[in-house]
């Protein structure tokens, strides 16, 4: 009965007719996430409102051997929330309630569709916030953040999403409602909570998430330092960390981006700078004052051209505005680019940045960089023009070389975006057969029939079936990185 009118009737029985999208135009809206390279529309999109409905949907799909693709806000960058082999996409956007705020226990419980920023907005007046802050936080959902184990600028000090997830409710691919972790920590048994975060929808669907709330720090200080050479900025990053200072965020913006941002959002970054470092400190006032003084000294020691300290919230917001909208700004320079998310050990930063430039020169391409320098998480954007024959191929070669260069330095394929379809084939560059075999068996424990988000996260899965046709590779302007 799979994908037949009878199957549609079953879906409608579970979520109601208004909870199913089955028209070609409707389904097309769900054919990709923000990595528009990968397109694949699902056969149906369903929008459940309860955990019970999600359970029934998974059980139905399991019975009928139909692929299930979970989707949050669709802001992912890895071809995760698209349906390479069709099937049923379960969109969590209607399950977007804030279920509980519990300040004495420093936590909140939310439905997966709740927008990341809404949680911090709801808790701010009480003095709390949710630390993971992917650049997409005004639109991405907490369920999506937990599924991809999202990062953000401030995870240098505070860690990525998994460090902030206390408990989960998950409908597994085996058709069970699993509740793990919660307000009480250290539950005996395997740490399923930790192991399920970052599952990218291949293990099940998150239906509720208990997250840690942090108290808003006493003070925040944002500094911007510009340098004539990228090398000096990279060395400054190492020196700051080497001085035992872990800033809340430590972001690098290269010359190409400085120019694009200045022309775009007008952040007023120093003109002619070869690299800009954005440093944010938070914590007790006395601590950030002392650390800021030390950082200013370190920047001077590394030939900084100019150092600015934001005087108030408005100035701070302006310094960040440029960073947060960087990718959109670059969209004005080039319609098409490939984005990389690889990581290197932070001591190798100066070396990899030289390598990035060399790779760009070798392939006659501009590679623009705006990234989380403090933890070595690069985001090179390889700009190319898809109307120039051969340029896409050169960009793809450059991308591949870049990834290999990072891994040769002991790095990682993805620092915060995730694997999805995009990097599944790169997994063997980082992991051996035994390692991947372990992951595949782990997956099978939660998804015995292989229905959950097929083709994602692990290589050599029958993903490239019918209906999977890569479109023109590009990321839309306004992408959050």
């Amino acid at each position: 009965m799979a994908l037949s009118p009878a199957f549609l009737a079953e879906l409608e029985r579970i979520v109601g007719a208004r909870g199913v999208v089955s028209t070609p135009e409707g389904r097309l809206a769900y054919e990709c996430d923000m990595h528009t390279f990968y397109k694949g529309a699902p056969d149906f999109v369903v929008l459940p409102e309860t955990t019970q409905q999600v359970l029934e949907l998974v059980r139905l799909c399991r019975r009928e051997h139909v692929a299930v693709v979970p989707r949050g806000s669709g802001t992912g960058l890895i071809g995760g929330a698209m349906a390479p082999v069709g099937g049923v996409m379960i969109s969590m956007t209607r399950m977007n309630r804030l279920l509980e705020l519990d300040f004495p226990n420093r936590c909140a419980t939310v439905q997966p569709g709740l927008i990341n920023l809404w949680l911090s907005q709801a808790t701010r007046e009480h003095g709390y916030y949710f630390a993971p802050d992917p650049s997409s936080q005004m639109v991405s959902s907490i369920g999506g953040n937990a599924s991809t184990n999202a990062g953000g600028p401030h995870c240098l000090k505070y860690g990525i999403t998994v460090n902030h997830v206390l408990g989960l409710e998950l409908v597994t691919g085996a058709g069970e409602i699993l509740r793990v972790g919660g307000k009480a920590q250290d539950a005996p048994g395997y740490d399923l909570t930790g192991a399920l975060v970052g599952g990218e929808g291949t293990l099940g669907l998150l239906t509720a998430i208990t997250v840690r709330l942090l108290h808003i720090p006493a003070g925040v200080k944002t500094l911007l330092a510009s340098f004539s050479a990228m090398d000096d900025a990279s060395e400054t990053v190492s020196a700051i960390v080497g001085a035992g200072i872990i800033p809340a965020a430590l972001e690098m913006i290269d010359e190409t981006f400085v120019r694009a941002i200045n022309e775009g959002v007008g952040a007023g970054y120093p003109k002619g700078a070869g690299a800009v470092l954005l440093v944010e400190l938070d914590g007790p006032e006395a601590e950030i004052d002392a650390q800021a003084g030390r950082i200013v000294q370190i920047c001077h020691d590394h030939a900084a051209l100019e150092i600015r300290v934001a005087k108030d919230d408005a100035e701070r917001a302006l310094l960040w505005k440029g960073r947060k909208e960087a990718a959109g700004a670059v969209g004005r320079m080039s319609p098409t680019w490939i984005l990389q998310d690889a990581v290197v050990p932070r001591s190798r930063l100066p070396e990899i940045m030289r390598e990035v430039q060399a790779i760009g020169a070798r392939h006659r391409l501009v590679i623009a960089n705006v990234f989380h320098a403090g933890d070595g998480n690069l985001h090179p954007m390889i700009l190319y023009n898809d109307r120039v024959p051969g340029e896409l191929e050169r960009a793809q070669e450059a991308n591949d070389e870049l990834l290999r260069a990072c891994l040769a330095m002991g790095g990682s394929v993805t620092g915060e975006h995730g694997v999805g379809l995009d990097k599944a084939s790169s997994m063997p560059l980082q992991f051996g057969d035994a390692d991947l075999g372990f992951m595949a068996r782990f997956r099978r424990v939660f998804d015995p029939d292989g229905i959950m988000n097929p083709g994602k996260l692990l290589p050599s899965h029958p993903a490239c079936g019918e209906g999977f046709r890569p479109a023109a590779p590009r990321l839309p302007a306004g992408t959050w990185v």
Partner: protein, 434 residues
């Protein structure tokens, strides 16, 4: 294979001096009175792999062993044939201070590692009560925590990557060697706290932290538990950033040398000197607003905290953070009813309490009057009670881990069946008989 043949095969892997172990060595590796027939001390990952391969093919029950300080943890094993002693795996494989990451072998002791990292102003922020002689692998496998978790997290947050040997001898790597990675499933999370039941950790890549330039520690003493609890609640609801927030009842305070105090909260702050002193001022004013008196502690207080938890019985209680005082009372009362005295030390910002109890109790009363009612009451808030150390007859009377709700238990059983189908790794010691 006959027993002598197994001995020969093990000796062929590690050498005669490292297997099968003398009678005394075997006795020292016994788990809840079950003495292994072999104690083997591998010197490399490859050795561990070959030993596990042998164990798998011979169906030998294996108990991995670090410093041996946590052999009490878990249910009495169904069988132990082979103690896999990792104490020779002491290499610091890779340490680039600028990366603030170190890769070390499982048998490295925390104090040895700490000295090496200290030369570069860095530390591994794991401070379990068993003390600095514990090994990295053991601390991770046991999921052992300490007071620094409030600021730095637990093994779950600090283990970036792990090399481990599966039950069939397959050497496997999970995670990464960089501070930020989401490449594939977070396999290290599965290993932390799994008591070696899914694989033997042989190498760990760890996130390090800078040692703070200045620090201060103080004890806030209160005349009531409620006063101490109100102080903790206020600190948690403030922008103060302590490293450690330890909860002590009167008996625990006596054990650390402070008599006549009903309840205490020990706090440490690490930062630049200016911020240490400014936070001390704020803490003191919060403390006095709840009737607390403050005294300065030296750093040695923290390493002595483990001694406050010495004793034949240790239980760990995890609850909602805000219910710390309530559960301290419940624990004390339940234990006192059967004539047991209890020193309670808590990780106040994390809702975790440990009680060290002394006195004699019958297994029946232990199970019926202490463990069962506390667990039932805790279950309403998702809490748990784990008996971390107890005489064997008490362990037999009440499962030390407590019940795991379904379908979590089923999922855990599926994991175990997938990765250790013959059940040779620490058989019977973990939750649900795993």
């Amino acid at each position: 294979m006959s027993a002598p043949a197994v001995s020969d095969a093990l000796a062929a892997i590690v050498g005669r001096e490292h297997a099968p172990g003398s009678a005394a060595q075997l006795a020292a590796a016994s788990v809840d009175g079950v003495t292994p027939r072999w104690r083997v001390r591998p010197s490399s990952t490859d050795d561990v792999s070959r030993i596990m391969e042998l164990a798998a093919s011979e169906g030998l029950a294996v108990a991995p062993l670090g410093s041996g300080s946590a052999l009490d943890l878990g249910m009495p094993p169904a069988r132990v044939d082979l103690a896999l002693d990792l104490s020779r795996l002491t290499g610091i494989t890779e340490y680039v201070p600028a990366d603030m990451v170190a890769t070390v072998q499982a048998g490295v002791r925390l104090d040895v590692l700490g000295r090496e990292l200290g030369k570069h102003g860095q530390m591994l922020a794991l401070d379990p009560y068993g003390g600095p002689s514990r090994t990295v692998g053991g601390v991770l496998a046991c999921g052992a925590t300490g007071q620094r978790r409030f600021r730095y997290g637990t093994g779950r947050d600090l283990l970036l990557g792990a090399r481990f040997v599966q039950a069939d001898g397959t050497v496997t790597w999970g995670g990464s060697k960089v501070v930020k990675s989401v490449t594939g499933y977070d396999v290290p999370k599965l290993l932390v706290g799994s008591l070696g039941t899914l694989g033997v950790i042989v190498e760990a890549t760890l996130r390090l932290h800078p040692v703070q330039p200045a620090s201060g520690s103080w004890l806030f003493a209160f005349s009531s538990r409620e006063g101490a609890a109100a102080f903790v609640a206020d600190v948690l609801a403030s922008s103060l950033e302590p490293d450690r927030l330890a909860w002590l009842n009167a008996a625990a305070l006596v054990r650390v040398g402070m008599k006549g105090v009903e309840a205490g909260v020990a706090v440490s702050v690490g930062s630049v000197a200016e911020a240490v002193s400014s936070q001390r001022v704020t803490l003191a004013s919060v403390g006095s607003s709840h009737g607390g008196t403050v005294s300065t502690l030296d750093e040695g207080f923290w390493s002595g905290l483990g001694a406050a938890l010495a004793g034949p019985i240790v239980v760990k209680l995890a609850s909602e953070i805000r219910r710390l005082a309530f559960w301290t009372g419940e624990l004390e009362t339940a234990l006192a009813r059967l004539g047991l005295s209890s020193a309670v030390v808590g990780e106040a910002g994390n809702g975790v309490l440990r009680a060290a109890a002394e006195g004699s109790v019958s297994p029946e009363a232990w199970a019926k009057d202490i463990v069962a009612p506390l667990r039932e009451a805790l279950s309403t808030e998702g809490g748990s009670l784990v008996v971390e150390r107890a005489p064997i007859e008490l362990k037999r009377a009440a499962d030390v881990w407590g019940p795991i709700p379904e379908p979590s238990l089923t999922v855990m059983k599926r994991l175990k069946a997938e990765f250790d189908p013959r059940g040779i790794l620490n058989r019977g010691r973990f939750v649900g008989g795993l």
